[in-house]
Symmetry: C2
Subunit: 142 residues, 2 copies
DNA sequence: TTTATTTTTGTAATCGTTTCATTTTTATTT
DNA sequence: AAATAAAAATGAAACGATTACAAAAATAAA
């Protein structure tokens, strides 16, 4: 994924019909650039210093706004937190049952032909959520 | 899926090292036989009359017990509720964005070869969660 | 039956997320 | 630049699905 400039991120928001603010641009940049699938709390802690003032409510509201606009994904991982993903392209999420890290896995082909009896269904979004041990935890006990 | 007798369900619990009770057997039978991916609340409402007395806490505790034992699956669907699935074999869950119903979809082959760069990962469980419109909602506006 | 252990129960607590009214910022118009 | 109207940010309070807890009831063994 190429690195986007702040001007390009600004354009993405405006093309989606979203009004700008200092908070919105910072939150969008953080989530779009992160590969760690952060929670709202993580976004909040990462930006509160940089922004001087920031409310957790703003983070939640903004992340929901972006999700509804299709700019990011909200992931329902089973650790009790909502996670946010700035990469909306088709990919799987692997959560290590040992360290809890969430890794991306690339999928090999279009998911529409992975299933039987899905003829009448119109699939618009897929969350492929795998569990197990990541390479690091598989090799050692940490 | 063949219909299981109550004696067979009893055996499944005992083989998993789980002690029996009236509530446990009823909850297990309901979730194992249901294809509707019920929430804890649904299980509770369905069984409270039949059992005379039943606590929602018992339902939650028991469903967690079965999940930890690998007898059922806990699904993290994004409607704010945990859903439970008595079918632990590999299959995808399709949630209709119109009516909210959760349908099962059969998958065509083992999921381990659907992904690239997953060589070092030990995949033990997969939740394939798809969204879109089910055939009923696709054809009409309900 | 007696006993020890486990399970059920109902209430209270938890905590991630949302609601709400107010203040502040934004973008447009004078 | 200043004034204005609309939208966004804020933080306290509410929400609600799930969990923790201690007491009561049921289970299984002797």
């Amino acid at each position: 994924m190429k690195k986007l400039t702040r001007a390009e991120l600004k354009n993405e928001l405006q093309n989606a019909g979203i009004r700008l603010s200092v908070q919105r641009l910072a939150i969008y940049e953080f989530v779009r650039m992160s590969k760690a699938h952060p929670t709202a709390e993580v976004v909040y802690e990462a930006l509160r210093e940089e922004l001087g003032s920031l409310s957790l409510t703003t983070v939640y509201n903004t992340l929901k706004l972006y999700t509804d606009a299709g700019l990011i994904l909200t992931l329902n991982i089973d650790d009790g937190f909502l996670h946010y993903d700035g990469d909306t392209s088709l990919h799987a999420h692997f959560r290590c049952s040992s360290c809890g890290a969430i890794h991306d896995l690339a999928v090999k082909s279009d998911y529409s032909n992975w299933f039987e009896g899905s003829d009448g269904f119109a699939i618009t979004e897929a969350q492929l959520y795998l569990k197990g041990l990541c390479p690091k935890c598989k090799s050692c006990k940490n």
